[in-house]
Structures are given as structure tokens and as C-alpha cells.
Symmetry: C2
Subunit: 370 residues, 2 copies
């Protein structure tokens, strides 16, 4: 009961704080004595802090308000990308306190090596966070593949299958698909829109649908595999075993061709190089086809292009919007708006840290040891 | 508060009844006096009835149990299909009490005419239900198109756009997409599996995704438009304004060609007629492509083929399963199971009636005037 009340009070502060203890009692239906005792525990744990006087209460007397505190409780976001490892530390107010990225070539890699490097990164980042007075209370890991529980089932570009990822910290630990976490990153750290399909352009292509602020995961947690939507039924073989998947036409490898990096591609697009423009046109056309199918099936509020599609947005927007406009026909009034992600390459690692913040807000007693 | 407690008690009886009043008090945390009073009201309204003695309670004394009653409260399901109008009456125990179908050619029809015929059907069906001692307390209408609130936005095969459907009864009334309601019909009246994608093969093709017993509707209630998933990007023009949509290859018109009916097609398939077999093969191939995209995006527990696909299942199963098996690749362990619907052509009209039953269970005070 106390655990539930802690969640009720912290939830109210999180949603609409700062609030005085009296206002919290009124909002939650708990007695002022109970609220005061719960708030004391939350202050003790570093989750909330007194944040100065506010006008409040029925009689207009000023009171001391409490709000979420960014001073102590923090969570760790981690990411294994094909091209890099990343970590970030986010405090309870969702302020980003640290980011670290280590370039790496993780294609067809040995899980033991990569998880070893990641463990080093965790140690360094945690030590740095502690120096800043932060206490890491949980971590989540974004991976470019399908996840079931703690098992990374299939990450074709890493070349990993059925890898059981060990807890990388002696703390609450979660592992989730990169596109799912990137969608949550966009929700919590990006535009803060609550209804969108986040499209994660990477070496693989994934998507995460957010409806009314909640991530849609499907039945087994495998929803949103946009990269393997069929664009051309008898098209070229895809790494997944299928044919003519979106990834074949619009994944990073198809876009870059022989170019070494996305920034190199952007440079060439800016100088109007024909081959680069054609690669973007092809990718945009294929995205228009696959997103038409996705809009018909998922009915997103808007479409957010993220990952490498963010820097390429000026060249992708036209063909994608045209594809959606002509193909969606008159089944709906207008196609969903097409916008660029605000979180860039950090979406997934931020979403990972945010996932644990969400758990703290939902279950403070358990997550903070209260 | 009383309204909420009525819902709590009726919900408990619905989920796991019959129960004695004592057991209900224990389950809900309400006092025995309160439960007895609520049960009296529900008996008075005809929603529950005493159903004999059960062994129960801590001390093992037998008690009189109450369960949902099918004797008085009923709801009306309605459907405007391209080829017919339908109505059914379902009682509170979800037993189907009446079904009526009127063949009609509703293509490019005048909404005023069709809604007039439907109103006649409502009157007849309601009168018949009353003769059986049933009291219709609400109705829902299934339509082959996209719905926003009370407006049928677009039903391409009816030729209707932006038609405001008037309340057909002076009672709680809802209108919803045919495939959504058919999925709910399958959930409540079919296999009672809780995780599946129901595929509604009609003149148009729709789908309804059920995850953990709940229909996924998307952001604007327009999700599941499987018929307009792109199968061939530069394929033939579709009625929706797009190109190469699934409906072009696997809708009823494509399957029948010049044949007058699905049963005629089945007769020819049974006699091994080449042209009929080829039409089914083409449709099955296209379904395999579109369902591959749907599985990647929606992650259904299983796939249920309904509507005209139910009688054609023996000829569709092979090509669809093969398409899914080869195309889904190694992104997931095995493709979702492919099964035939148990509710046949009645799925949508049953789902419509069931939708109102669900409202009665959720809000008995309001729906039963308590």
C-alpha cells in the first residue's frame, strides 16, 4: 500500500509538479500526514526536492513546493550500433548529463568482445556520473535486432543470433530493440508529440509506433520491422532471407554505395552529384511505397524520419511525401505529416535511459529501495 | 460510486461467474450488504439471475449463485455489406438469438435508400426480439469503409463518401468499420483466441488486429487497411487511387472474375477448373506478400482468414503459407499460424452486437438505466 502511494505521489509530481504537500494531498485523496511522510522518503532518496515557495491551497497561503530532483537519481542508456557503442546518463528530470560514443566496426562481430567493450564503457560512464554526484539506479540497452526477454534473437547486421545478453550492471537492467527505444527517445527527448511512427534509418531500418504516448509492441514485441516490408515482391534478396525488402533499397548500405560515411553523402548531395541524388531518389521512392503500407496498417499520427534519414531529410522529403500523397489515394483525408527527428543519432540511447526513468516513476519503492 | 460498483460486480460475474453474493463480496472488497443491494438491482434489470446453489464461502456452506442472464437484455448487430444487409440479436450471455440477412446490391447506392431498408430491418428484428421477451438496449452498425465518429468517411465499393449515419435506434448506437467488428466477432464468438490478425476477405479486404483481447485501432481508428497494402508498386490502378494494392489481386472481384458467386467459384475449384485455380493461386500469392509486410509491422499472434477467404481456405492456405514461410525469412522463429475463421460471413454483424454487450458490462448503470 505504501509502495502504491509512493507511486501515486511521485506520479503526480512528475505529471504536473511542482506541488505543495497540501496540493498533493488534495490531488491524490491521501491525508496530509501520509503525503508528508511519503515526500520525506522521496526527498531522502533524492527523487524529489523542495523547490521554493508557490502560491497555493484554498486560502491562498504560500507553501513550499516539491518537484522532481535532477541532483541524485540517474539512469544509464546503452546502445550497440553497427558502427559504434554509446552510453548516456539521464537524471530523473530527463536532463541529459553525459554522452559517450565509441566508434567501432561491429559487423559480424563476436558478442563476447563487444559486450566486454560495452562493460568498460559502463564502468567509465558510471564512475563519471558518480563524480557528478549522481547515483545510477538502472540501465537499458538498445540493440539492432529482435529481442525476446533477455535474448537478442536476431541481429542480422551484427551477425548475432540467440545471444543471451548478461546483466551489464548489478542493477535493474533491460534490453530492447533499437527502433522501439528510439521511438521512446523521440517521445521523451524530442518533439514530445504523443502520436507518431518513428522511422529509424540505420544500416538496418526499423520503426516504432507511438499512439497516445504509448509504444505499440505487437504480440511478441516484434512489431515495427519496417525494413522488411516488401517493396518489390521479386526484388533482390535481402539479408533477412526475404526478397525486395525496404532495407535493400533504403538501408545505409544502399544509400552510401562506395561512400565511406553519411556526411560524405551529404557533402555530395549538397554539391548536386548525380549518383548521390539518384541513390536518395531511389531510397525515397522505396520509403514512399513501404510507408504507404505502414500508414494503411498502423494509422500513425505523423511520420518522423530519424537516424541517418535526419541529415538526409532535405533530399528524402520530396520523394517520400510524393509517394505517400499519390499512393495513399482517397482512403484518408490527407497523408500524415512527414517531419524530421529532433533527437538525431542519440534517439535510441536516450530512449534506453528514459525507459528506466519511466520505471522509477511507475515503481519508485522498488527502484529506489524505499 | 454506485455506478462504479455495479460495473465491478457485473464485471466479476461476467469474467468468472457464477458466484455467490458472499464470494462476490470477497472478490470485490465490497460489503455483503452492498453486494446484495447491487445484485438486486442487476436482477431487477434482467442482467443477472440466480442460477442455483453452489458450494462456496470459507465455511463450505452452499449458497445461491448469480450469473449473467440471457433472458432479457439483448443488443442488436447490424451490417451494410456490398451484397446484403444483415441484423442479429445477441443476449447478454453472448448467445445468438436471431439472424436476418437481406440480399441487396448496394454498389454505388443511395445512402438514403439503403439506410431506409436498414431501418425497416431494425424494426422487424426488434419486434421479433420483443416477442421472445428480449429488450434491445443498444445497437451497432458495421460498414465496409473508414469511420470517424458517426461519419462514414469513405466506402469505395458502396460509392459513399462523408455520409453522416443517423442513429438507427433511439438507444445507444455505434458505427464501426466492418473488419474491426469482424475481428471482435472472431474474438467473442469464434475461436476465443486473444491474439490474432483477422483478415476479412470481401469485395474489399480489411483486417483487425487483436492483441491480448484488445482491438488495435491506430491513431485515428483507421488501422488495418490490409486491402491497400502495396503488393506491386507499379501495378494496376486500385479503386482507392493507389496502384498495385492487395485488393486488386485478392478482392472478391479479382477472385470471381465473371463468376456470379463465391459458391460457384468453390464448385469450380472442387472440380479442378484451371482458371479458378489460377485466380486462387494469384490471390494467395498476393496475400502472402501483403501479409508478410503486415506480420513485420503488426506482429500478430496468428492469422485468421475470414469472410470469403473462409470457404476458399483449402485453396488459399498453401500459397499464403508458402509466401509467409519463404518471405518472412529468419527474422522470427516460425511464421504465425494460418487458420480459418469459425464465424464465417457473420463475424462483423456478431461483433457489432458484441460491442454493445461489452459496453453493458463496462457501464451497466448507464446502459441499463440503473
Amino acid at each position: 500500500m505504501r509502495a502504491r502511494n509512493l507511486a501515486v505521489v511521485l506520479g503526480a509530481i512528475h505529471r504536473s509538479g511542482p506541488h505543495t504537500r497540501a496540493a498533493l494531498a488534495e490531488m491524490t485523496g491521501l491525508t496530509k500526514t501520509t503525503v508528508s511522510s511519503l515526500v520525506s522518503d522521496l526527498i531522502e532518496a533524492g527523487a524529489v526536492a523542495e523547490s521554493g515557495a508557490v502560491r497555493g491551497g484554498e486560502r491562498g497561503r504560500p507553501g513550499v513546493a516539491v518537484s522532481l530532483s535532477g541532483d541524485r537519481v540517474a539512469t544509464l542508456g546503452l546502445e550497440i550500433n553497427i558502427d559504434y557503442l554509446a552510453a548516456c546518463v539521464v537524471d530523473l528530470t530527463r536532463a541529459v548529463r553525459l554522452r559517450r560514443t565509441r566508434p567501432a566496426d561491429n559487423r559480424n562481430s563476436d558478442p563476447v568482445d563487444i559486450l566486454g567493450s560495452l562493460r568498460d564503457l559502463v564502468k567509465e560512464t558510471t564512475a563519471e556520473a558518480e563524480l557528478a554526484g549522481l547515483r545510477i539506479i538502472g540501465a537499458a540497452l538498445a540493440v539492432p535486432g529482435t529481442v525476446e526477454g533477455e535474448v537478442l534473437r536476431n541481429a542480422p547486421h551484427l551477425g548475432w543470433r540467440d545471444v543471451r545478453v548478461p546483466d551489464l550492471v548489478d542493477l535493474p537492467f533491460a534490453i530492447d530493440n533499437e527502433a522501439n527505444l528510439a521511438a521512446l527517445g523521440e517521445l521523451w527527448f524530442g518533439s514530445r508529440e504523443t502520436d507518431f511512427l518513428y522511422v529509424s534509418g540505420e544500416i538496418g531500418i526499423g520503426a516504432g509506433l507511438v499512439v497516445d504516448g504509448t509504444l505499440f509492441r505487437g504480440t511478441f514485441g516484434l512489431a515495427g520491422e519496417l525494413g522488411h516490408v516488401v517493396v518489390v515482391p521479386d526484388g533482390p534478396a535481402c539479408r533477412c532471407g526475404g526478397r525486395g525488402c525496404l532495407e535493400v533499397y533504403a538501408g545505409q548500405d544502399a544509400l552510401l554505395g562506395a561512400l565511406p560515411s553519411v556526411s560524405e553523402l551529404v557533402t555530395r548531395l549538397e554539391s548536386g552529384e548525380q549518383r548521390a541524388l539518384e541513390a536518395c531518389g531511389r531510397a525515397g521512392h522505396a520509403l514512399g511505397v513501404a510507408l504507404t503500407s505502414a500508414v494503411h496498417l498502423l494509422d500513425p499520427g505523423r511520420i518522423v524520419l530519424g537516424g541517418i534519414y535526419a541529415p538526409l531529410f532535405p533530399w528524402l522529403e520530396g520523394p517520400v511525401a510524393e509517394g505517400l500523397g499519390t499512393r495513399l489515394g482517397h482512403m484518408r483525408g490527407t497523408p500524415p505529416a512527414l517531419v524530421v527527428s529532433g533527437t538525431g543519432a542519440d534517439a535510441a540511447v536516450l530512449g534506453a535511459a528514459g525507459l528506466i526513468i519511466q520505471q522509477v516513476i511507475a515503481e519508485p519503492a522498488q527502484m529506489l529501495g524505499l
